[in-house]
Amino acid sequence: MAKNRKVYVTESGEPVYGVIAEFATPADVYHAAEKVRDAGYTKWDVYAPFPIHGIDEAMGQKRTVLPLISAAAAGAGVLGAILMQWWMSGVDYPIVVQGKPYAPWEPFVPITFELGVLFTAFATLIGMLALNGLPRHHHPLLKKERFLAVSDDAFAICIESGDDKFDPDQTRSMLERLGGKHIDLVEGD
């Protein structure tokens, strides 16, 4: 954990989650994101009703490890399917079908493929949610009424108080300079 990190609280004693600013269009929020990235912030996020094209670059987001999770699951599915079919028809319950070998590889191809796909699909969905920290049904942002417009047509940047560069006044004035509207503190943790 970061040493001597400042913990910000409001006058009522609520912890501060961060500072949020609204932007009018995808273009505005995109350019503001580039500036926040260049200012060196790391714990912050852009909120938008749809994935903005190229936002990963504007935010300096690293590539996700999700494809590796999916690939591992695909391997597990394929291996599991081969082992299952080989053991069930070759070892535990060999039956003669049209005088063919007990455990040839050719007829095992379709089920091996299908189980590989099945495992990949589950791992991709569950892996995506896990990397995103979901399901999480409570969040300081979801308590703010203005924030809920993001699911409709609003765009916002929230810089979190856990960021090393976070400062209630400087962060707020930077967001103001970038053209943010309705700048507000987000309470809760």
Partner: protein
């Protein structure tokens, strides 16, 4: 041309005016509803009437939030009754045994497998739209992918019923899966019937996961809207007049549960888009494998008319053909019945799908011809007899020629532009294709079986009331589920539709929004 400035939309919203129902603007002559632009320099608008992001939310959420038109409840009651009658017929079949069907010792697969292949094929269009068109970056798919994926899942549910009930002792259906049992036996992994079990169950599961993942952000939008209404007016309408439960509280709870706490974070969106791409990537070979494996059920046997190597591609093309016909059959009435849906599903969408019907119909027609050619070229007398004397001239010739007329002849009208752009014509052809594709499976299955190798094995098949009841019942189940989908779930992928609007580009700087064609410049 009327303009809709974002401020104007906000002003209308604050004034309590509906932003969803705006007057249509005059469109250029010869472009239908404005989407049939022929100039290659002009990209046809995917969404009409200069809709804002908020309009999309209002229109799509409106379908799930506002009471539907008066047609909905009577239609729902009718198809739900049909579905339940189908359930009664299934109950009768389980109690009586599958002798209640019109099958006999020669024709031991008939309507059960016909219906199975028919329904599973219908699903393929949904996966084609959601996966293959996604990989091909066909942006027009965003208008139809959600409903097509829903159709896929409902069709797979109908399809899965039939193998489950045709096994005879339905309470033993779990033997289809490799589950340890008291007899210490395992299923035969060398049988295509078992491959089919894995293919169909994987297909249904993966389609459902893909569909659900696509809906997570849209559930979050529905959750937030219900939440906002509840915060502003805690005394909103109740579920039932005497219950102290607010409708919006139920919505916020149910949609909120399904949304998994999605909060539209861009860091989440990046992983979400990657997951979407991976699912599209694995669904593409999956959808091709499923109907290939279904065709192995026939192709690996030695029945004349079944034992052919053309079956996998022929079945996949036919599945996409029949599936697109069903998409059109469902969406053409929907866009008439729901307000503003024509802005999202434009004439160009209909025309694109008509072109796919023409292309896949030609592939199917080619396969029909190829079957005859190979029957002659292989010099196999059983194969030649089946095609020359039975299919086109035997007692089921009427079914064969119905199939040819519906699947090969009727889509040929789509060579003409007016036919592709005239919605009633597209609807009628889609209906014919759906009938034709059902007959294709009937012809493949029954004509091969009813004239087996010895004349002593020759039997006709005629359906009984139970055959008909269960098939009609499955149509009832399909439509019941689709009507519930139209009523309660996000019918369009809102986030995806918003992302293809011109103002969604981060390089779009015009504030006017006055011209539907002032797209932003291309990226970096």
């Amino acid at each position: 041309m009327s303009t809709l400035h974002p401020d104007e939309a906000s002003a209308r919203r604050l004034a309590g005016l509906p932003t969803g129902e705006l007057p249509t603007y005059p469109v250029a002559p010869g472009t239908g509803d404005g989407s049939l632009v022929d100039d290659p320099a002009v990209r046809a608008p995917l969404v009409l009437n200069n809709r804002s992001f908020h309009d999309i939310t209002e229109i799509v959420c409106g379908y799930a939030e506002k009471p539907p038109g008066r047609w909905w409840l009577p239609t729902f009651m009718m198809v739900f009754t049909i579905a339940q009658l189908g359930g009664l017929f299934i109950g009768y079949l389980v109690i009586t045994g599958i002798g209640a069907w019109g099958m006999n010792n020669a024709v031991d697969w008939a309507w059960d497998i016909t219906n199975f292949v028919f329904w599973i094929g219908i699903g393929h269009a949904g996966t084609l739209i959601s996966a293959i068109l996604c990989l091909l970056k066909q942006k027009w798919r965003t208008a139809v992918n959600r409903s097509a994926e829903a159709m896929t899942i409902f069709a797979v549910i109908c399809a899965a019923t039939f193998p489950g009930i045709h096994i005879g002792r339905q309470w033993m259906a779990w033997f289809l899966f490799p589950i340890p049992n008291a007899n210490a036996i395992w299923p035969n992994f060398k049988s295509p019937l078992l491959w089919d079990v894995f293919a169909v169950s994987t297909y249904g599961t993966v389609s459902a996961l893909f569909w659900y993942m696509g809906m997570i952000p849209d559930f979050a939008t529905l959750r937030d809207r219900a939440d906002l209404r509840l915060r502003r007016n805690p005394e909103g309408p109740r579920v039932l007049p005497f219950l102290p439960i607010r409708t919006d509280a139920v919505r916020a709870y149910v949609y909120g549960f399904l949304a998994l706490g999605w909060r539209f974070s861009s860091r989440h969106w990046i992983r979400y888009e990657k997951a979407y791409l991976i699912l599209a990537g694995i669904s593409t070979p999956l959808v091709l494998s499923v109907h290939s494996i279904v065709s192995f059920d026939f192709a690996t046997s030695v029945m004349p008319g079944w034992h052919t190597t053309i079956f996998p591609p022929y079945f996949v093309a036919g599945a996409i053909f029949g599936g697109f016909a069903m998409v059109l059959l469902l969406l053409i009435p929907s866009r008439e019945l729901f307000p503003n849906m024509k802005d999202l599903i434009t004439l160009r969408h209909i025309e694109n799908m008509a072109k796919i019907l023409l292309a896949t119909g030609m592939m199917v027609g080619f396969a029909y011809g190829m079957e005859f050619f190979i029957a002659w070229y292989s010099a196999n007398q059983y194969e030649a007899y089946l095609f020359a004397n039975v299919r086109a001239r035997g007692p089921y010739a009427w079914a064969y020629w119905t199939m040819i007329f519906c699947n090969v002849v009727s889509p040929q009208v789509f060579w003409f532009r007016w036919a592709r752009q005239t919605v009633p014509v597209v609807f009628v052809v889609s209906f014919l294709v759906t009938i034709g594709m059902w007959f294709e499976r009937f012809v493949i299955i029954v004509t091969s079986l009813h004239r087996a190798f010895l004349p002593g094995e020759w039997h006709m098949f005629w359906p009984t009331a139970v055959d008909i009841g269960i098939f009609v019942g499955s149509c009832g189940v399909f439509l019941t589920l689709f009507l519930l989908f139209l009523r309660f779930l996000p019918v369009f992928a809102m986030a995806e539709v918003k992302a293809v609007l011109p103002q969604a580009s981060p390089h779009h700087h015009g504030n006017g929004h006055g011209n539907g064609h002032d797209h932003g410049k291309a990226g970096h």
